[in-house]
Amino acid sequence: MREPTYFVLASLLDGPLHGYAIIRRAEDLSGGRVRLATGTLYTALDRLSADGFVELVSEEIVNGRARRSYGLTPSGSGALQAEATRMAEAARLVTNRSRRLKAGGPAREASPA
């Protein structure tokens, strides 16, 4: 899962949001690293909707234009959790070995003979 996709899904964890709110939330959550352009956001939303990860929750008319809010589906939530777990495990692998190296121990654990 690419980082922008991850943060689009993560931005919907607290509830449905409309397009601009997703852009703002993704930027906040990523510490300013992920700044989604509008075209990128809707490409991602199309793909995530087609995959069943995101669904339309509500629609209102603001200034004569449609404003749609999107929410996470159960499978979207599951995919996000799986990705978060995968990244956490990958991060733990590196931090544990770095800690061991700093403590003067072997970088690799001896494999059982």
Binding site: G19, T38, G39, Y42, T43, S49, R65, R67
Partner: protein, 221 residues
Amino acid sequence: MTPLERHCGWLLHAYPAWYRRERAGEMLGTLLEASPPGRSWPSFRDARALAIGSLRVRGWTWLLTMLWVVMGAGGAIYATVAFSHPGYGEGLLIPPNIQWPREPQVIIDVGVIAEVAWGLLSGPLLVAGFVRLRGWRRRNWLRVTGWAGSWVAGIALMNQAAEWAAAGMYGTRGLLSIGEMAICAAWLVLGGGMTWILAAPAPPRAAGQRDVVHRLGQAHR
């Protein structure tokens, strides 16, 4: 309508009509909200993302089609330029491929590569269009016929351009070839027609996307 709104609307025209019908209003709202106050043009980032997004929606078959059309039109422009040089065709045989005296080597090379590439692209393009339009389904026969007809028209245009170019060789004075210019214009019209054929139906890869967008539009009506 503010200048920013108008300019964003122009950019959204890069998307196919069926997509714009469902999404343009919503995307325009988001673009306006995301733009800092006082701007009259969207940012370069937004413009680039919209261009890339529209290409993704249109699909690679359309991209190949545009490449084929632009190369065809380029061939007609090349012939027009060659015609305008006195002594056009004199050096064609020795050494090969030089169309007019002192023709730059880079133009010769690009011309040869484009000629070969256009020929190689033609067959796969016909098949790609057939697959994209789901040509084996009976209800798509009209679009597939239009596609095949456009492809044949492209081949005919290229042949006619080559025929006129050959007929005009060894002219002692430069001419402005109206025929080649007309072929160039015909290529542009053909490109518009092929874009319409590819965009109007539900293409196989975009069909899922189209359904999703349509569903988004219908869900709360």
